[in-house]
Assembly symmetry: C2
Homo-oligomer: 107 residues x 2
DNA sequence: CTGATGCATCAATACTTCTTGATGGGAGAA
DNA sequence: TTCTCCCATCAAGAAGTATTGATGCATCAG
């Protein structure tokens, strides 16, 4: 039987959202603060619908939030979500103990 | 033109490795320290070749290291790799500034 | 040696994600 | 109203990933 980790679905969706170069570039642009979609276009080497697709993935993962203003759409990093990811990765890292001196298997 | 982030390939591979529930369960098991593959079997609800596949993904991402001892293979979390991920996510989070008061687009 | 065990790898299939181009809707300009 | 702009969404095909069962290889036990 599988032991389910808390929020596994959300965690995996967030990590999946981070696992694409286009999306990392978008997030890098958003470091500077809220950006209009049209300001993000040149972060990618491809068309507008592709950018829109990747923004949706980031939004569905909760890593960014969006806001409408007239014809424009603005996106912002979600610091809380990033903080949760940071905490999770840190919790894995911090639990790494020394290697067992004499590991014994399957007993 | 695309501006390339440092180590984008490695970063995306690591995040992709984290974006699967099976692999998160495996990593959770490894918190306790080095584990033999046979000790990880019940972290998944499926066969041995599937476990082997997911361990390979984690290993190729550098998130775990493996060691052979006789018939057994032991896997361990790689604290350095996890630390790098933590740092990266933190660097995104810490650069989130306040929303621009009056964003102006495309000028 | 012979047989069993622990694990990796391969091939085939199923599934998911990515990418492109086309379409459409809402907002503003004329 | 009509035209244009910004953006989201859709459909279809391409590309990548997951899962299964079979096979192989090394190690150890008898």
């Amino acid at each position: 039987m599988i032991r389910t980790l808390p929020d596994t679905d959300l965690l995996t969706r967030r990590f999946k959202a981070l696992s694409d170069p286009h999306r990392l570039r978008i997030l890098d642009r958003l470091r500077g603060g809220e950006r209009c979609v049209c300001e993000l276009t040149d972060a990618l080497d491809a068309g507008q619908s592709l950018l829109s697709f990747h923004l949706k993935v980031l939004k569905d993962a909760g890593l960014v939030t969006d806001r409408r203003d007239g014809r424009w759409a603005y996106y912002t990093l979600d610091a809380a979500a990033l903080g949760e990811l940071e905490t999770f990765v840190g919790s894995l890292r911090r639990h790494v103990p020394e290697t067992r001196w004499a590991p014994v298997c399957c007993e």
